[in-house]
């Protein structure tokens, strides 16, 4: 067993790192300096294949969407094209459609229990403190939570000092950061994002994109969005969904999050925009 625990001595907080033979080192702080310490499970690829109908009318058919392991996949499309339906089907949520096809993970294990979900509305419980919101998963399962992990996430999302506030006392950006912390607290390998930044102003949005891209790095992410700029900044892989089907837009190898004024990023954004405007 290897891990860390906090040590409080003379009012100072230090961190002891230990393995099976005992404590091996004392370091200044238990706060992880890099995001990898926030941890993740084994990365897993997800494949979605099939079609969906709603009361006999086709929503989409013969669709193939591949989410590479540990990568960010953006699914771009205008409203009502069925993006959210795909996301809900992968999450195992009630999608109100008839689905024919299969959704499989590369390791063959079920997907639903390994998913963390973040929606456009922050879905923070208005009656609960930010702390209890971030710990909602553990509370809802009746499990003990990881205090070190909670503190680390609170710091990484810039919410230290806000843990005992209620959601309505926070700004829109802070609320989405709390929702991100809650998502990461779950420590699931597959992350489904349903336009979580759509209602934020341009500046807050860009900051949230940077933060999410950094903190979710190494997990398999599917982000549904109607914003070409967002897809161009964040996606390792970008799909455009239209009535006629799915188009995979080639992206450069540069590592997301790409700069907002990066020429290649802007070129891809323009290309995606054009694709959305074209009929079909």
């Amino acid at each position: 067993m290897v891990g860390r625990f906090a040590v409080h001595r003379n009012g100072n907080s230090k961190c002891a790192e230990f393995n099976d033979s005992g404590v091996v080192a004392m370091v200044e702080s238990c706060m992880p300096s890099d995001t990898s310490a926030i941890g993740q499970g084994q990365a897993v690829a997800v494949a979605f294949r099939g079609g969906a109908t709603l009361e006999g009318s086709v929503i989409f058919e013969n669709l193939e969407l591949l989410m590479p392991a540990g990568r960010w996949t953006s699914l771009l499309g205008h409203s009502g094209v069925g993006k959210t339906t795909i996301l809900r089907l992968i999450a195992g949520l009630d999608a109100a459609v008839e689905f024919k096809g299969d959704i499989v993970a590369s390791d063959g294990k079920p997907i639903g229990p390994r998913v963390a979900y973040m929606a456009q509305s922050d879905l923070l419980f208005p009656w609960a403190s930010i702390r209890n919101n971030i710990l909602a998963g553990a509370r809802l399962r009746g499990e003990a939570h990881d205090t070190l992990r909670f503190d680390a996430l609170l710091e990484r999302t810039g919410l230290t000092g806000h843990a005992d506030k209620r959601p309505h006392q926070l700004s829109g950006g802070q609320r989405q950061r709390a929702a991100l912390a809650r998502t990461l607290m779950e420590n699931r390998p597959i992350i489904l994002l349903d336009e979580p930044f759509a209602s934020l102003d341009a500046r807050t949005k860009a900051q949230m994109q940077d933060l999410a891209s950094e903190l979710l790095n190494g997990r398999t992410v599917l982000q549904v969005t109607h914003d070409p700029a967002e897809a161009a900044r964040l996606g390792h892989r970008i799909y455009v969904m239209r009535r006629s089907g799915l188009h995979s837009e080639p992206v450069s190898d540069s590592i997301p999050p790409r700069q907002v004024d990066d020429p290649e990023c802007l070129r891809v954004q323009g290309q995606l925009h054009r694709f959305l405007l074209e009929a079909g």
């Binding site: 949520l93 998913v115 929606a119 208005p126 909602a136 009746g142 309505h168 779950e186």
Partner: protein, 246 residues
Amino acid sequence: MSLRLSLLGLLGVFLLVALWQAVVSLADLPRFILPGPLLVLEALWVNRELIAGHSLVTLAEVLMGMVLGAALGFATAVSLAYSPTARNLVRPVLVFSQAVPVFALAPILTLWLGYGLLSKVAMAVLIIYFPVTSSFFDGLMRTPRGFLDLAGTMGASRGRQLLLVRIPSAMPSLASGLRLGAVYAPIGAVIGEWVGASKGLGYLMLLANGRVKIDLMFAALLVLGLMAVLLYVMVDRLGHWMRHDA
């Protein structure tokens, strides 16, 4: 409430009292038909001990009814929300029982539970039970979809989802049910007292009416009204506290 609104409210009360006095003076009504406001205040002062004693009885009935009725309504709504079987079993009965005017049950309750406190408390319980049950149940069935999705992906059990998401989410609905209950509860207790009692404001009003002491009857009515308003304000404060952004 702002000072301006409070002043306007006071003015309204004053105008009503003035109108009352004007009607009494101009129509020259005898005091055994409609006594003037001053006479009522006088009766209130003269009979203060009598009225206070009866008020306490009615207040006790109403408060006990509120607490018991709210607790029963809470429990019913939660079990209906939790179990679809219970829902299908009980819902038609609940709808039917709401169609029966509870006041009509007052004589039977008095027959079964006697002339004492119990039959009035039961009356208040019955009256509060239905609004609390139905509005809280409504709230429990209307948890925002997103909250349930989130709890679903987090692997919440049905019980914990109810306890940590659906019940807190429905608190504002419970508050509005309680507000309705607070309005009806004193009516329930007083009607119970009319049917048969030896104590309480309802009993006192009936007694005063029979002895043509209309000023005393109005004094008792005034106290009853004040009590109802006070109860409403208290429950309303509680409702504010139960609001999510409080």
